[in-house]
């Protein structure tokens, strides 16, 4: 199995604009490796550094020190993003476009031919179950449908690596189930999926390996059973690892 995503001693500090304020350390010496074909869950409480890590991987934020690479290419090179798909947390796509037009737009950015784009758009709209709504403007879509069109745009280039930032955030149970099914299907197709989530039950179901990050530092990494150890659930393990003490009920 080859390494598809790698960070080495990744350090990100945001300088404060306030006088005499020290820089905020968002990531501290983060080492991650994701292998081809695995579904990797990236967990951590709010503000732990999950989105910062994803932003570094996508080239949005430059690392202060250390390195990050996708397919062995430094993430600062735009070409490193040629074979990835990315779904950000709750995005409101161009509401004046239809799902078909949106996917065609992204296909053009990847330089796909018209025939190739048509084939992929048909396949993806079926995959995300938006075939009947393909000609409707996105402004008429529900939240779940918008998230699924987002997933379709992330897959338009048939990526080898999919980066999903809280893909089920804000969705109802049915929406979550549908997104989970899609991730499962992608896993069966041999795609590598790297996703951050707060839904530990969902992570437990679909992930091959997980990592837990807290205050910018990697606290645990391994298969779900390795991270859980002797604990009853992944949720219990997560709380223990980030150092949260459950208060006894009065």
């Amino acid at each position: 199995m080859s390494v598809i995503l790698k960070t080495e001693k990744l350090h990100v500090a945001f300088s404060s604009r306030e006088f005499r304020q020290t820089a905020k350390i968002a990531l501290n010496s983060l080492d991650l490796e994701v292998n081809t074909g695995e579904v990797f869950g990236f967990l951590g409480p709010n503000g732990a550094g999950k989105t910062t890590t994803i932003n570094v991987l996508l080239g949005f934020v430059p690392p202060t020190s250390g390195s990050a690479s996708l397919f062995g290419i430094d993430v600062r090179q735009p070409i490193a993003r040629q074979r990835i798909g990315y779904l950000p947390e709750m995005t409101y796509y161009y509401k004046f476009l239809t799902a078909e037009e949106l996917l065609r737009f992204y296909a053009r950015i990847f330089g796909l031919s018209r025939t190739e784009a048509d084939t992929r758009i048909d396949r993806l709209l079926k995959l995300v179950e938006l075939e009947p709504a393909r000609k409707r403007p996105i402004k008429s879509y529900s939240k779940g449908m918008q998230q699924r069109v987002g997933l379709a745009q992330a897959l338009i280039n048939d990526p080898d690596l999919l980066i999903l930032d809280e893909p089920t955030s804000g969705l109802d149970p049915l929406g979550r189930m549908k997104v989970r099914e899609i991730i499962q299907r992608l896993k069966n197709e041999g795609k590598t999926v790297f996703f951050s989530s707060h839904e530990l039950g969902e992570v437990e179901t679909v992930c091959d390996r997980v990592s837990i990050i807290h205050q910018g530092e990697l606290k645990a990494i391994g298969s779900v059973s390795e991270v859980m150890g002797q604990r009853a659930s992944l949720e219990k393990a997560f709380l223990d690892i980030i150092g949260y003490q459950l208060q006894p009920a009065p």
Partner: protein, 258 residues
Amino acid sequence: MNTIFALAGVAIKELYRRKDFYVLFIITILICLVMASVNIFNDAKIVRYLKEISLLLIWISSLVIAITTTARQIPAERENRTLLPLLAKPLTRMQLILGKFLGCWIACGLTLLCFYIFFGALAASREHQLPLLNYFQAATLHWFMLGVVVALSLFGSLVFAAPSSNSTICFVFVAGILLVGRHLNQVAVTLAEPGRSITYAIYYAIPHLELFDVRDLIIHNWPLMAWKYFGLAILYALAYMAALLIAACLVFRRKAVN
């Protein structure tokens, strides 16, 4: 180039699927038609006033469309978070700026085409003549002037956070140039130092948009302007567009995405 055209296509679609253009176009048509239907003072040359007012409305409408459409492009991408999936594609920030610019500029060109076709038809119905080359020169220079305004507005959208503040500042700046830009050198002569040098510096630095205002060519049916000067005006506009786009790319390169 395909990437830039794809981005431009979205900006064009946005313009014709929103109501802004239709509202301004219908208002302009209604005002012009009402004016055309009356003959005030039985003046035989009333058509000149009609043309002057109609062209003024077209100029105002085109500036409103150019500034408001461009000013919201990047802030809307940021607010709706579509900037993230976009920049996660193999696309450079410079391509994004160029795509947005091209889209807004072409959209303005299409808008102008609609306005000038209507205006030409209206004027021809009253005057029974249509000097096409005069229209071509006036509309082309108008379009290139809008190119400078679009580039300015795009640059402003990266400097000012809110589209409303950017639009207001752009309107004031453009109106200021159109109304007083050409007189700044005369004002400078009357000032003491350092006011004189500062005013001269502003006079030479600002894009002189008033140079592109050749409405009189079609209002008074004047002879065509020399093609040499027409070409120079186009080059002048292209130079300012390039300078503003380079500045926008430099600002955007340092800008945090999220």
